[in-house]
């Protein structure tokens, strides 16, 4: 463990010394020593469970009831750990501001926004309520909340996630703190909104000369803002240094591992400079998989290539929604006119943010939701008109992997039982030994230790749970695998492993994969073609290489620009180019082109007519009125 004190003690705004945090017998943080200098931004990175949040929560006296902290946390001239709660209350919110991870649940649901911002001002500065509200309005403008006057009177649930996070930041800044601690401030947000929030934080730091601590698992986020970086693992710091040094010349093996995991999925820049070459790309595997070793081909089954594995044609999915029990019913168009074809051995990535309808699309493709109109064809057979009973035997060939690894497994069943279940449904004639053998083979396929078969889901890690989910999907040897954000809930290194596993399955079994994600960089490793969705409509569909090298649609461009790059030389500049604007509510889509409210190239025509779905180049489709002018 290395402790590098770049600044001397005198400059430090916050200084943690030999901090240790325990919960019962679990040691979350061991012997941590860190300083935050005045005016600097310290990035604290590490994977989940590293103890990064716990260290700072402990310093501020916000640990859960059974947490104990020892050591020193020097803020100015006081030791925070020696203070009692009422004394800490003087400092919290006034001299140290905190921003938390989940904006959905971090604001008090029954208080208006204006009141929530004004409250700490009144409490700490003794200002009158009227003055505090004026100041709150000013703060909302500083954090770029549109229509601030109206927002003051609204409740948290009426705001979008990005807005709520801005409000959280406004609250944290309300009393002009010396130090702002942001604990995973962007994790729960869409990638374009993440970029906006990070840009906002960078701007605030510059404008106020404030010190900042950014706790995150996202290396790209850190690269854009931090001056110094501390890497944590299992409660200890493994490396500390200036941001350039950490990213360019990492000393510790773990840091290198983190950076490799991130860089492998993050090489957009590299692709650009490689002039569109597809070195990182694999062409779709021809069906009739030759190069698998004999054993695996027997296990996995060889796919047929006669017709496309999956066809969606003009799919439309509606929901009847009542926004509140007192309100009237409206129709929400979640998916509008989506068409795609997927061949055997091919992976198609469906990319979009929240509200894009991608999860709904996955469920419609699986016939878990019935589409309003449009065709769904599995392996040459039209299924959208079939009853659930008729569909049942066909489900053998179409399987799914869900987003939340733990929630997608029945907590009362062991891993082995979970994996065996599809066999019980589709091949009830197999006897116990044959089933067990199939389960063990499936475990091998996903590279899980056989000994885990009798474990319950709550005893497995996130990555292991997801592998069980994949094993369950593969045990019936399906032809089509639909993955709904399968890696979003996992750490970067584990994400990498799971995506590689899927790539291997695709290659060796000729499996067709529909891969849904909000993260363009993750999709890159696996997918041959990409479909970009916005508010349920298709924006662009093209081979992956060309999407990354030369995106045609402005939204694709925005997505690419928002994806953080773990390179401190490049990322800060990219952050300052972030586009403002919030996604519109799916209940009230804009007229004409739905993206026009955020598009920097929008003209009058875009509001009048829905753009046609044109073939811009062979195999590349785009829906934009102005793609030609933008491209040149």
């Amino acid at each position: 463990m290395r402790v590098a004190r770049v600044n001397n003690r005198g400059d430090a705004v916050l200084s943690l010394e030999h901090l240790a945090v325990t919960f019962g017998n679990v040691r979350a943080v061991r012997d941590l020593s860190l300083t935050v200098a005045a005016g600097e931004c310290l990035g604290v990175v590490g994977e989940s469970g590293a103890g990064k949040s716990q260290a700072f929560l402990a310093a501020l006296g916000l640990l859960a009831a059974n947490g104990r902290a020892t050591g020193t946390a020097r803020f100015g001239s006081v030791d925070l750990l020696a203070l009692r709660q009422p004394e800490l209350d003087e400092i919290r919110g006034a001299r140290i501001g905190l921003v938390f991870q989940d904006p959905m649940t971090s604001l008090t649901p029954h208080m208006r926004i204006g009141d929530q911002i004004a409250e700490p001002i009144v409490r700490h500065t003794g200002a009158s309520f009227a003055d505090a509200r004026t100041r709150a309005l000013a703060l909302l403008n500083q954090v770029h909340v549109t229509d601030a006057d109206r927002r003051m009177r609204q409740y948290p649930h009426e705001l979008s996630g990005g807005m709520r996070q801005r409000v959280m930041i406004a609250i944290a800044l309300s009393c002009d703190p010396q130090l702002l601690i942001a604990d995973e401030p962007t994790t729960a947000l869409d990638v374009t909104i993440q970029a906006q929030i990070l840009a906002l934080l960078a701007e605030l730091k510059r404008a106020r000369g404030m010190s900042m601590v950014l706790i995150t698992h996202d290396m790209g986020a850190v690269a854009g803002i931090a001056d110094r970086v501390a890497v944590m693992r299992r409660g200890e710091i493994v490396e500390v240094g200036a941001v350039g040094a950490i990213f360019k010349a990492p000393q510790h093996a773990y840091t290198r591992e983190l950076l490799t995991a991130v860089r492998r999925t993050d090489d957009v820049l590299t692709l650009n400079t490689l002039d569109g070459s597809v070195a990182a790309y694999r062409a779709p595997v021809a069906a009739g998989v030759d190069h698998s070793d004999g054993n695996r081909a027997v296990v996995l089954g060889v796919a047929h290539a006669s017709s496309p594995t999956l066809v969606l044609d003009g799919l439309r999915v509606d929901f009847k929604v009542r926004t509140s029990p007192f309100g009237k019913q409206r129709t929400l168009v979640a998916v509008d006119g989506v068409s795609l074809e997927l061949a055997a051995g091919e992976a198609l990535g469906v990319v979009g943010e929240s509200g894009s309808g991608k999860s709904t699309l996955a469920r419609a493709a699986l016939q878990l939701i019935r589409p309003e109109s449009g065709r769904v064809v599995w392996l040459g057979r039209q299924v959208d008109a079939l009853t659930q009973n008729a569909l049942r035997p066909l489900r053998r060939d179409v399987q799914v992997v869900f987003q939340d690894p733990l929630a997608s497994l029945d907590p009362r069943m062991t891993a082995g039982e979970i994996i065996a279940e599809p066999l019980q449904v589709h091949r009830p004639e197999t006897d116990r030994t044959a089933r067990d053998a199939a389960v063990l083979r499936a475990l091998d396929l996903v590279r899980l230790d056989r000994g885990l078969a009798n474990r319950y889901p709550h005893e497995l890690s996130g990555g292991q749970c997801q592998r069980v989910g994949i094993a369950r999907a593969m045990v019936t040897q399906p032809h089509l695998l639909i993955c709904d954000e399968p890696v979003s809930a996992l750490d970067a290194t584990v994400q990498d492993q799971i995506v590689s596993l899927l790539a291997e399955l695709k290659r060796e079994a000729g499996l067709a994969i529909l891969f849904i994600s909000h993260n363009l960089s993750v999709v890159r490793q696996l997918c041959d073609r990409i479909l970009v969705l916005y508010l349920g409509r298709m924006m662009e569909r093209a081979p992956a290489a060309s999407v990354y090298a030369r995106p045609l649609h402005p939204y694709t461009r925005e997505l690419l620009d928002s994806a953080p790059i773990a390179d401190p030389d490049v990322q800060p500049a990219r952050l300052s180019r972030t586009l403002p604007g919030e996604p519109p509510s799916p209940l009230f889509p804009p007229s004409g082109c739905v993206y026009r409210t955020r598009c920097p190239h929008a003209v009058a025509l875009c509001a009048e007519r829905v753009p046609a779905w044109e073939e811009a180049e062979p195999g590349r489709f785009v829906a934009c009125h102005r793609w030609r002018e933008i491209a040149s």
Partner: protein, 307 residues
């Protein structure tokens, strides 16, 4: 919000109709008629009685006539206490029962909520253990045990309050009965409030409130109280129902002339109109309380309120 309230009120009517009809026919299922327990009556007298009360008509006609009378607000005559109509009997007894019930409910809320909050704030301390023990005891003591015990203690030994009986609207006669009735409800509310508060304390937005440096008192009253009360509000409906039936015991034990005994005696005596009257009152009360509960819930939780 107003639209929702109106819709709900209108929706109550079909439910009420079903209740009335179901009760009407169920009561007449029981063997025996209203006049069987009397001394043996001669045939003619019996036939006369039947005719006067319309019991010789086919049941559908009786049903129709009953509904007709009901729409004019007439619950009909009591078969057993023939000097009185059901309206009069209810008018006599309802004020007593209503006062008892409402005071019990208010007492239960007034005691249960603060105790629950206190136990939650002072979790795992002796205060918490004390309150939890009281809660367990309160839930385990039935009304017909607490009633006599309280009467014994305060009425006979200490002589602070009357042990029973009732004088025209004198409040002291209501104290012991209301307390007896309130004890199990207060215990349940205390427990509910405590667990709800503990869950709210764990919520993210409370952590944010603490991070803003707001003091414990401000957080408790301004941020934690309203979400904590949500489950308690949902419980008020069932609580009211409990109080209404529990009042039967309490009225018997303390000798209060309320409406509780009408239901039991009425069913045993086959006094159909009386029973029907009680069922309708009861049903209306429950539905009304459920409606109030929903509206209060909507007011407390803005997420439910807004478009």
């Amino acid at each position: 919000m107003l639209g929702y309230a109106l819709r709900r009120i209108v929706g109550v009517i079909p439910t009420l109709l079903i209740i009335i009809s179901a009760s009407f026919f169920i009561v007449r299922l029981a063997p025996g008629g209203p006049f069987d327990q009397e001394q043996t009556l001669s045939r003619e007298v019996r036939a006369n009685l039947d005719r006067v009360y319309g019991l010789d008509q086919p049941i559908t006609v009786q049903y129709g006539r009953y509904l007709n009378a009901l729409s004019h607000g007439d619950f009909g005559p009591s078969y057993k206490q023939r000097d009185f109509s059901v309206n009069e009997l209810i008018a006599q007894g309802l004020p007593v029962s209503a006062t008892l019930g409402i005071s019990a409910l208010l007492l239960a809320l007034g005691a249960g909520i603060p105790l629950g909050l206190l136990a939650a704030v002072r979790r795992q301390t002796s205060v918490d253990w004390g309150i939890t023990s009281m809660v367990v005891l309160g839930l385990a003591l039935p009304g017909f045990v607490t009633g006599p015990l309280l009467a014994l203690l305060f009425g006979v030994y200490l002589q602070w309050l009357p042990a029973g009986g009732w004088e025209e609207a004198a409040p002291r006669y209501f104290v012991l009965p209301a307390v007896t009735l309130a004890v199990p409800v207060a215990a349940y509310i205390a427990r509910l409030t405590r667990s709800s508060a503990l869950e709210v304390f764990r919520a993210n937005f409370i952590r944010t409130a603490r991070a803003r440096g707001l003091g414990l008192r401000r957080i408790l009253w301004g941020h934690a109280l309203r979400p904590t009360l949500l489950p308690v509000v949902s419980y008020i409906g069932p609580a009211a129902a409990f109080v209404v039936t529990g009042s039967l015991v309490v009225e018997t034990v303390f000798g209060l002339p309320g409406t509780g005994r009408y239901l039991v005696q009425g069913a045993i005596n086959r006094d159909y109109p009386l029973v029907m009257g009680m069922v309708i009152i009861y049903g209306t009360l429950v539905l009304l309380f459920n409606l109030i509960t929903d509206l209060v819930y909507g007011w407390l939780d803005p997420r439910v309120r807004h478009e």
